[in-house]
Amino acid sequence: MQGIYEFVRGPLLWLTFIVFIGGSLYRLISMYYLLKKKERWVFNYMSLKYSLRSILHWIIPFASANMRQRPIMTVMSFVFHICLLVTPVFLLSHIVLWDESWNLSWWALPDWIADIMALVVIGACVFFAFRRQILPEVKYVTSVADYAILAITAAPFITGFLAYHQWIEYRTMLILHILAGEAMLVAIPFTRLIHMFYFWFTRAYTGSEFGGVRHARDW
């Protein structure tokens, strides 16, 4: 057991980061080259001002018409993403690991809050899954892969939650948690989770076209 733990926490984690960072960089750089090779003209229209204007309107809750028209989804989506990004970074037990390995540490969330945030992520994933079942226009475009993405996203939080509360055998749960986290990171460059990086560019481009060329708002 200890051997497996050492492996997933050591070499496998390294590998995960290499694949996550390397893979994401590969996706971004290869897209950049493809753009340069075949759609170079796109650069002519990029505008920092309108890129930022567009991004801002879409990372602030309720700043776009569509967000206002769907308050529940908007709240779920923002709460989900915030918890998803904040929890792992400010979780005390994660910071302890950083401290052990690299002598780095920072402010940590109180555990009970982190606990709630993990539940929120899980709850949001369940919500998204239900949404995919219930709303015909979402169901129509949903495939197994979309549930898989939700599962991959929820898994680290479910396993982390279970491990923390030690309801099931802690060691096993911990290993599963690390594996789930690693799976999620590895999945990012190779699934639609790449939206984490692409989001900024698609918005920047649309924002530049709408603002710079068409003098219109895109929110």
Binding site: M31, Y32, L34, L35, K37, K38, E39, W41, V42, N44, Y45, S54, W58, S64, A65, N66, Q69, R70, M73, S77, L135, P136, E137, V138, K139, Y140, V141, T142, S143, D146, I149, R192, I194, H195, Y198, F199, F201, T202, R203, Y205, T206, G207, F210, V213, R214, H215, A216, R217, D218, W219
Partner: protein, 446 residues
């Protein structure tokens, strides 16, 4: 619950020779070969990023008037992408002629490439571009609805949309000039006047069906004392159905003719009539295919031109329209050029009682006629009107009887909606409003 696409098809199968005959000639090999050529040579980073990023969230659905009118998922933007591009990419072009026919129907008659959905998608994914690419594939496979294909042919043969022959064009201008001189003796439609300030260009249907719009433009230009000219050669038409069939080579040729006509006349700018799709082609799309980042000669849409004339005091309003009016914001000059505030200035300057429709400005619902859909002709009319009941509701809610719509396609589309849903309304162009409200200087009167 989702209605399968086939069920709707059973309801009424629309027969379009262009699609039937076009699809009948296809082979699997040809389809695969053409699609793969488009994938490797014409699609690149944008398409890939859009398809890879789309999280299948369906948030774009309520952007689309087709979806809002029918309420079933195959009309949602992402639903249309699923039925076309996803399948094409997933099967790497190994799709059937029947599939291509259906794809052409979706891309050409179930999407106005109005770009409202890219304003609703959290990533700003441009579904209109994806649909335009599907049309491009269908064009290269020769499966395009008959009527719009015919207009694309007209463009190729005559450089205008309506098979207007060169002499008919000039003759029409001279006829309108003669008519208008009865009202304003000093009026002149100067043909090919080199060095004028403005070249005025219109769309093919104006000389063909709505020549009085040329008459009215001439009255306005004369009243405002503008130094203007119209070309006596092909290049007078700014419209572009080739852009909408996906015949980009022809789109480039038409736009080149238009711009070079203006350059040869050494005008400072091109003012174009109240048309939306033509503006998109001249201002945003056609120029790019030719390598021009922005139009090489500035292009001003009529509404902006009227706005400037009013602001500069070159025309004055003598009396305002008393009847309440509403305003339809055409996609291609609002989401396409942000002219909405200028148009509101115009409405308020010319009408006493302006009732907004909701949503408005960039958020306005498309007329469902633009993007080439109305140009697919009579076979598709009922479907087009049924696909925009949301517009009928939006219009009806204003409670007024006049709708100003500064776009030809919008006009056609709204008229059909108004008639079908019995809305007791009629549409006007801004120039119609100006003709009723503008002051004609005494010196110019007959």
């Amino acid at each position: 619950m989702a209605v399968p696409a086939t069920k709707l098809k059973e309801k009424k199968e629309i027969i379009d020779v262009g699609l039937e005959e076009g699809a009948a000639r296809l082979t699997y090999e040809r389809i695969e070969q053409v699609i793969n050529r488009v994938i490797t040579a014409e699609m690149a980073a944008r398409m890939k990023v859009y398809v890879d990023t789309c999280i299948h969230c369906g948030l774009c659905s309520t952007a689309c008037h087709y979806y809002l009118s029918h309420g079933t998922p195959e009309w949602a933007p992402v639903g249309k992408v699923k039925q076309t591009m996803w399948e094409i990419l997933e099967k790497k072009g190994k799709v059937s002629p029947e599939f291509i026919k259906r794809a052409s129907i979706i891309a050409s008659t179930e999407c106005n490439v109005c770009r409202r959905c890219s304003m609703y998608c959290p990533y700003g994914i441009d579904v209109a571009y994806i649909m335009a690419t599907v049309r491009r594939i269908c064009h290269l496979l020769g499966v395009t609805p008959q009527y719009i294909q015919d207009t694309a042919h007209s463009h190729s043969a005559t450089m205008n949309q309506m098979w207007v022959k060169e002499d008919e064009w000039i003759d029409t201008l001279q006829w309108q000039e003669g008519e208008a001189q009865a009202e304003m003796p000093s009026l002149r439609i100067a043909l090919d006047k080199e060095g004028a300030d403005i070249m005025y260009s219109v769309i093919g249907p104006e000389p063909k069906f709505r020549a009085q719009l040329i008459y009215q433009a001439a009255i306005l230009m004369t009243a405002a004392g503008v130094d203007w000219t119209m070309p006596a050669s092909p290049g007078w038409d700014n419209s572009d159905m080739a852009m909408f069939t996906g015949d980009f080579e022809m789109m480039g040729r038409i736009k080149r003719t238009h711009f070079e006509t203006a350059a040869k006349l050494r005008v400072k700018k091109i003012v174009m009539g109240e048309c939306g799709h033509a503006f998109r082609s001249v201002y945003d799309v056609g120029n790019r295919w030719l390598g021009w980042k922005m139009p090489p000669i500035p292009v001003i849409h009529a509404t902006q031109f009227y706005y400037e004339l009013l602001k500069e005091g070159k025309i004055k309003i003598a009396r305002k329209l008393k009847e309440p009016v509403t305003l339809h914001d055409p996609c291609n000059i609002v989401r396409g050029r942000g002219l909405h505030e200028m148009m509101r200035y115009l409405v308020n300057a010319t009408c006493e009682n302006f009732v907004e429709m909701y949503p408005n400005r960039e958020q306005n619902h498309c007329c469902c006629a633009g993007g080439g859909v109305i140009n697919c002709g009579p076979p598709w009319k009922t479907k087009r009107v049924e696909s925009n009941s949301i517009k009928a509701e939006q219009l009806a809610a204003t409670g007024v009887h006049i709708c100003i719509a500064p776009c030809h396609n919008c006009h056609g589309g709204l008229e059909d909606i108004i008639n079908t849903y019995k809305l007791n309304m009629h549409t006007m162009f801004f120039i119609d409003v100006l003709m009723k409200t503008m002051e004609i200087p005494d010196a110019l009167k007959a």
